[in-house]
Amino acid sequence: MMEQLKTTPSQTVGPFFAYSLTAEQYGYGYNSIVNDVLTGDGIEGRMICIKGQVFDGAGSAITDAMIELWHADNFGQYRETCINGKNDGFMGFGRVGTGTNSNGEFSFTTIKPKFSDNRAPHINVILFMRGSLHGLYTRIYFSDDEKANTDDELLNNVPAERRHTLIAQKNKSDGIATYLFDIHMQGENETAFFEL
């Protein structure tokens, strides 16, 4: 076994990340590599919108969190080529802050990932915020994939009473399908986070 180095400790993202990490969304004079749109024009797949809020242990919406999404395309394939900036075809990677909407709501537009390798369609979520000394990892599954969700290995690893915290609820609406995915840091509906 090779000698191991000590890994660099994690620190909070703090309240002031926006002018670097999500500058365009917040209106700062700096460009952003990625944003809330994870797909480009003419990409095969069903357009969806994912909306939600992040709540603290007192039930207040958190307005200084940053969320990253990373997911596979309509063929179950993650993007492997370099991302060269926004609108570079299917990127599958996006990032937003919760500070530009007065109630802390976030919103992503993308295509629904496909079922692959016996895993239900899902989106990887990495969450950062002031007051969190680590990035937190969780997943979004979809309420209309009931059968696939039942067979999903990772979901089956989650205690049954907590599985609902990972399932985005489809909101019946005209046009783009919208899924609601709220994140609760604590409380009755505390989101299931995974150890990496």
């Binding site: 191991q4 890994t7 004079g29 242990g57 007051g131 990772l154 604590q186 986070f193 995974f194």
Partner: protein
């Protein structure tokens, strides 16, 4: 093996009550263990075209006809996995306060001057050997609302995207000998033996004469994928 993991546990806890915002923002239930295929998931790769000409020079990338006020410094280092192997093409994004301790963020209320020639944001990719380098000015300390008379030590925020999901790191780089270390709960939340890992090393030998002092800050990412044997 488990003992080894313990020895190398360099990470702060989720809940650290002295850092007050962790109280309502940290998970109360244990994290759920995942299979290694999830930790190994490849992260997005970013191309050179994402990086602007002066993105690794914060003294230039927002200058409006002048130079930012403050002590010019060069920060460089290497991004590695826990076996010491370089992590090339990692995306590093940075942000910091100006030399007066003021962030340009709209919600920043600290009554210190803004600097028209300084934004405080930058980004870069590591090279084939995992190296990165940027110029900036040394950030100032600033007060915050955690407790009466709370001040953050001078620091630069780092966001790093490595090759795998478990190589996504957000951290802060500090400067040697900062008298505020003992009073900062964010720094203190890190186990004592690991705090030095967040402090850049002053490198006289890397200093650019008549131009900039130099600091070395190496970053060691997790990385469960490779289990090499020697």
């Amino acid at each position: 093996m488990e003992t080894e993991e313990k020895i190398f546990d360099t990470q702060p806890p989720y809940l650290y009550p002295e850092y007050k915002s962790t109280i309502l923002r940290s998970p109360t239930k244990p994290l759920i263990l995942t299979k290694s295929f999830i930790k190994d998931l490849s992260m997005p790769v970013f191309g050179e075209s994402c990086i602007g000409e002066f993105d690794n020079d914060l003294t230039k990338n927002a200058a409006k006809g002048g130079q930012p006020i403050g002590e010019r410094i060069k920060v460089s280092g290497k991004v590695m996995d826990k076996y010491g192997r370089p992590v090339p093409n990692a995306l590093i994004e940075i942000w910091q306060a100006n030399s007066a301790g003021r962030y340009i963020h709209k919600l920043e209320i600290h009554d210190a001057p803004l600097d028209l020639n300084f934004l405080g944001a930058g980004r870069m990719l590591t090279d084939k050997e995992g190296h990165y380098m940027f110029y900036t000015i040394k950030p100032g300390a600033y007060p915050w609302g955690n407790h009466y008379n709370a001040w953050r030590p001078n620091h630069i925020h780092f966001s790093v995207i490595g090759h795998q999901l478990d190589q996504r790191l957000v951290t802060q780089m500090y400067f040697p000998g900062d008298p505020l270390f003992d009073y900062d709960p964010i720094f203190q939340a890190v186990p004592k033996h690991a705090r030095e890992l967040l402090i850049a090393r002053f490198r006289m030998d890397w200093t650019e004469a008549e131009f900039a002092l130099a600091y070395e800050f190496n970053i060691v990412l997790n990385g469960s994928k490779q289990t090499p044997f020697e």
